[in-house]
């Protein structure tokens, strides 16, 4: 499979001193869903922001390695150029424009395109087809909609840019389990019907591995494990550390010595 999006050994430093990513490499093949897993502070969001070039606004910088999309280096582009190139990020915590209506939120997503009124209308209809719930709420201010609806608005807004690839950061955050399922179903749907590739950062390992094709596990700014999603799901370590299951039944994290967990990962 040819490299579609590839991240090669990148190092990210914040504020010139804080080393967050220590050589992360990963690949997203075209038309696939790849999950980026790991605990809080492992570097998932930073990896996504390094790809989407949103780091600069947070005083972060890619100091080593490179990022390529369809054979072109993209790590020095502005977010605007990257969005026009087909890669868009949906940020963690949704970040809807609270005072704009849902429909206006969606329309801002098309800002980078020179689309006619008719095209925009068709586009909106398509988004509403994926998210029927948004159609009912189209005229309410986004700030007053529920968390799930905001997540849908954020994804829909990204869709309006006609992306080839969406970087989706923590879509399950703060949502009820049913809503999480609903959102992941839509992600799968988008992937299959619209051929949008996804790089998905998630803490909810169980759900993410069910929908993804491939997974990377990050810890402390490094990739510590990678593999087919099915393979990772069956991996004893993953089961133990992320799913809370082990061969000897359910086990409390407290009983596992910290250094032992760490050692097994890095071995």
């Amino acid at each position: 499979m040819s490299a579609y999006l590839s991240v090669n050994n990148i190092e990210v430093i914040y504020d010139h001193v804080i080393l967050v990513l220590k050589g992360v490499s990963l690949e997203v093949p075209q038309g696939r869903i790849v999950a980026l897993l790991g605990a809080n502070g492992a570097g998932k969001t930073t990896t996504l922001k390094a790809i989407s070039n949103l780091l600069a606004a947070e005083r972060g910088e890619v100091t080593k390695g490179d990022i390529q999309f369809k054979g072109r280096r993209v790590d020095q582009l502005t977010p605007n150029e990257l969005v026009r190139g087909g890669v868009i990020q949906v940020m963690e915590g949704r970040h809807c424009f609270a005072h704009l209506t849902v429909e206006e939120n969606l329309l801002t997503g098309a800002y980078t395109r020179k689309a006619s009124r008719g095209e925009l209308k068709a586009n909106l209809e398509k988004v509403y087809e994926f998210f029927p719930r948004l159609k009912q709420r189209r005229h309410s201010q986004a700030g007053y909609t529920s968390g799930g609806e905001q997540q849908m608005t954020a994804i829909g807004r990204a869709l309006m840019a006609n992306p080839e690839m969406i970087l989706l950061d923590e879509p399950s955050m703060g949502l009820a389990p049913q809503i999480v399922e609903e959102i992941f179903e839509i992600v799968r749907d988008l992937n299959q019907r619209e051929k949008v590739s996804f790089l998905l950062a998630e803490q909810n390992t169980m759900v993410a591995l069910r929908y993804a094709d491939f997974g990377y596990i990050l810890e402390n700014g490094r990739v510590v494990m990678e593999g087919e999603a099915a393979e990772l799901r069956d991996n004893e370590d993953v089961k133990e550390f992320y799913l809370g299951l082990s061969s000897s039944g359910r086990k409390s994290f407290r009983e596992v010595k910290h250094y032992r967990r760490r050692k097994r990962w890095l071995a």
Partner: protein, 304 residues
């Protein structure tokens, strides 16, 4: 009754002049969530640039676009040298930056154009309209009426622009969330340069009208102070709010000036003139207690 109407209409019309200054604040506040302390300085600078160009021999119709060009350059420079470094900084940092900017502009303007008080003649005289004077015996200034018409037109245009155009929508989006706007590919640089240029244009119109009435001088920077109660009343984020706020402030301060001092003097004795000077601020203060987001301002949306 006739006198009351005359005072009120005069107040309403002068209120529109406040609205015009307030409008500049609203534009920048909407697009960047920052109170632009330099708006008064921009009004001063714009008026001076206009007069300066006319002194250099340009006719009015040429001086106006020239002054607008200068304001646009100022807007672009502000974005490039001040705001670009400030993405994702807390609003207070941006606010401080605009304070610095206002001192810079206040210093730059006399350096470029000299610091004597100038007259600005835009071909309008501040005299009563004869027809109204004859038929209703009321003094309504021609100048005020024209200024109001211009301001209302400008406001209507801006309101439509914000509500229905792609760029207007992007401006509102940027005001809500810089980072999210960046993430969907809205180039903050262009947007900010644009909004500062538009604010510069509004400052130019305000400077032109205020300058024609009171002379072009440093005191124009203080028009910004009169815009503050207008903003508090109308709401910092609302274009129509700036207009309604200006009308209320204008009418109420003139009416207060006429009708309150005799009452107070009747009770306490002595002289209570000059209420006009501080009445708007007292109103703003009371308003803050009742409705802090202003009449038309956006409510702060918090999820709990």
């Amino acid at each position: 009754m006739q006198f009351f109407l005359e005072v009120m209409i005069g107040g309403l019309l002068s209120g529109v002049m406040y609205s015009l200054v307030a409008l500049g604040f609203v534009l920048i506040f909407k697009a960047s969530g920052v109170l632009n302390f330099a708006q008064g300085a921009m009004v001063f600078f714009a008026a001076l640039s206009l007069v300066g160009c006319m002194e250099k021999g340009a006719p009015f119709w040429l001086a106006l676009p020239l002054a607008f060009g200068i304001m646009t350059l100022l807007g672009i420079a502000t974005e490039k040298f001040v705001l670009r470094k400030m993405v994702n900084q807390p609003p207070i940092a941006l606010f401080m930056a605009t304070i610095g900017l206002s001192f810079f502009i206040e210093g730059l303007a006399p350096m470029l154009w000299g610091n004597e008080v100038r007259r600005l003649d835009i071909g309008l005289v501040d005299e009563p309209i004869p027809w109204i004077l004859d038929n209703w015996n009321m003094v309504i200034s021609k100048f005020d009426l024209f200024a109001s018409g211009l301001a209302l037109g400008l406001v209507a245009l801006l309101a439509l622009f914000f509500q229905y155009t792609r760029v207007g929508r992007a401006l509102r989006a940027v005001a809500d969330d810089h980072q999210a706007a960046l993430s969907i590919g809205i180039p903050l640089q262009h947007i900010w340069a644009l909004v500062w240029a538009v604010a510069g244009f509004v400052a130019l119109v305000a400077g032109m009208l205020w300058g024609a009435r009171n002379g072009v001088q440093f005191a124009l920077t203080f028009t910004a102070l009169k815009a503050l109660p207008v903003l508090i009343l109308g709401g910092f984020t609302s274009v129509p709010g700036a207009i309604v706020g200006g009308l209320i402030i204008g009418a109420s301060e003139k009416l207060a000036e006429i009708y309150i001092p005799p009452l107070l003097a009747g009770v306490f004795g002595g002289n209570f003139g000059g209420i006009e000077g501080w009445f708007p601020y007292v109103m703003a203060l009371l308003f803050l207690l009742i409705r802090p987001e202003g009449l038309f301002g956006e409510k702060h949306i918090d999820r709990v």
